[in-house]
């Protein structure tokens, strides 16, 4: 096995000198989440802030108590507008409040007042402002209603016969756990695949394309040691890539803790189980990808074979998005990849069934061995080595 180590050391050195691999499998994955979230966060909060913190409206109609009320609000500014419609179109105002004459009299006499809100649904700022203004005016209306009831000597409570209180009985985990139970399994299936890809292509088809495979096979390295060394270094690349992704994700979550809702925690045994599964995914993907890459004629063909991995990895993640982990039939734990997702979901609810975990591990290990055996066989098979 000393020779497997020699192969491993060489492949790691080679991979770390490849700037392209480094950028695509470490730097980019690490940065993608922080960048994405910073962008999203900035854009979102900018829009929301502008739309609700400082609303510019146009008021059309004679002065009224409502106008005075709106004017008194700190986040609403009433603009003097000559042509309100044009100003709405030009985004100078977000909402036009149109009031029919005689509003104050109507309010005083117990009649209905007529108000029209004009806004532009196609503009996020305008539609957000409109809903704020609608609520504000409703609050004003409620105030008037209470005054009317009190004037007639009726307790305002009289027209609110029901008091509805809601209590959420979901486990303390909260909203964060729901989002995580979709995201984390997907990450676990996706990142080890993207992390392994470049290295797997380079170490299989790449050897053929460079013409290094034949001299390599003519040395005294055994096919098993060669396969082992290449598999371990591909796995290492996969694990490093996954860690990079996860690190980026964790950083993003730390800076925007509300991004996925609050209240997400995981027990040490759950974290351990998820970590072990992540490493197993790196192992199984590396073995499978290496097998396909060694079979491929050249780098281009290998890329074609390997790119579907990412899509295949996402299918079970999406398929189980709404799965209730407590009612999953036992056979599903015998479906590779699907069972990984199920265990992660169990782990996040802190209800890992270690029997399920063992079945899943057995499947992953068995398949990894099958793929590795295929790699060894292909190194021994002249029609694969000289496939053209």
């Amino acid at each position: 096995m000393k020779r497997a180590w020699i192969v491993f050391a060489k492949e790691m050195k080679d991979a770390f000198r490849d700037r392209r691999t480094l950028i695509f499998s470490i730097l980019l994955p690490a940065l993608i989440f922080p960048i994405l979230m910073t962008l999203m966060n900035n854009v979102m909060s900018d829009v929301t802030e502008e739309a609700t913190e400082n609303i510019v409206i146009a008021y059309v109609g004679e002065d009224s108590q409502l106008k005075a009320y709106l004017d008194s609000l700190p986040n609403v500014t009433i603009m003097d507008s000559q042509d309100p419609e044009a100003d709405l179109d030009g985004s100078k105002v977000s909402v036009i409040v149109e009031v029919k004459d005689g509003l104050d009299e109507a309010m005083a006499s117990g009649a209905k007042g007529n108000i029209t809100l004009k806004y532009d649904e196609s503009k996020a700022k305008s539609s957000m402002a409109a809903s704020v203004i609608r609520e504000t005016i409703n609050a004003f209306g409620t105030q008037v209603a209470r005054q009317r009831l009190q004037a007639k000597g009726i307790d305002p409570e009289f027209i609110e016969p029901l008091d509805i209180a809601s209590i959420n009985v979901a486990k303390a985990q909260g909203e964060g756990a729901i989002v995580m139970s979709f995201l984390l399994p997907m990450f676990l299936l996706l990142y080890p695949a993207t992390g392994a890809m470049a290295t797997a292509i380079d170490q299989g088809a790449g050897e053929k394309e460079r013409g290094t495979l034949e001299p390599l096979l003519a040395t005294q390295v055994s096919r098993a040691a060669l396969a082992m060394g290449k598999w371990l270094s591909t796995s290492a690349a996969s694990i490093i890539g996954t860690i990079a992704f996860m690190a980026g994700f964790v950083v993003a979550v730390i800076y925007n803790p509300t991004m996925f809702g609050e209240g997400f925690t995981a027990s040490p045994s759950a974290i351990a189980a998820i970590t072990v599964l992540g490493i197993m995914m790196a192992f199984i993907y590396s073995a499978a990808m290496l097998a396909l890459s060694v079979f491929a004629r050249n780098i281009k063909e290998a890329s074609t074979y390997l790119s579907p991995f990412v899509i295949v990895a996402m299918i079970p993640a999406y398929a189980t998005m709404y799965t209730d982990i407590k009612t999953v039939p036992a056979w599903q734990y015998n479906v590779p990849l699907l069972n990984v997702i199920l265990i992660v979901k169990e782990a996040l609810l802190d209800t890992i069934n270690w029997g399920h975990f063992a079945i899943t591990m057995l499947w992953l290990i068995a398949l990894t061995i099958v793929f590795l055996t295929m790699v060894v066989h292909m190194f021994n098979n002249e029609s694969v080595v000289f496939r053209s």
């Binding site: 034949e214 390599l216 040395t219 055994s222 002249e382």
Partner: protein, 242 residues
Amino acid sequence: MVKLISIGKRFKDVQAVDDLSFSVKGGEIFGLLGENGAGKTTTLRMLATMLKPTSGTATICGLDIVKQPAEVRKHIGILFGGEAGLYDRLTARENIAYFGKLNGMDDNALKKRIDELSQTLDMEEFIDRRVGKFSKGMKQKVTIARAIVHDPEVMLLDEPTVGLDVTAARTLQDFIAQCRNQGKAVIFSSHIMSEVERLCDRIGIIHKGKLVDIGTIDGLKQQYNNSNLEEVFIQLIGGKSA
């Protein structure tokens, strides 16, 4: 040192190599001549244990290439022409060392050997640079060094000078001659008659996978009564241009 025993190779419907038998001693350079598709590469690949013969066998240093391929690999060095296969992101030294280590050499012996090779092949200037930007001649030197880093007794060379300029080709030819002086058995294939005439002790001419004739260059010239090796060759493979 090398003995082919009725060796043959059939790819589906092509009999690429058909019943070849000859032997090559240590300290001898044996030239394999034949037109395109004659079966030279296939023969050398079988000797290198890269392809399994479909009939017959061969021995290298007394070891059977079919039954003991792993053992055979200890005794051979291969240099297959065309694209020089090297790892671009490794230095020349690292490329050579990788193959040395895979051939079981320890670090001390390896360092000594690489320094020695880089001196004989005149590579000291670029031995610690990455091979990615090397010229063809520089790469060829690295491939030679890699092929013999473990000091094999048998060298298998398939059109090793193809695509090299005159000086690079000459370096390689000098190196092949040096291998003979060290007592190695060298089998190499070539299309270049002048190179064959300069280097080879004996030649074998193969045509459509079969050995047509074998002997020393002078012997063959005398036998066919022609002082031009190229014409002897064309006569033997039944060409019309003779």
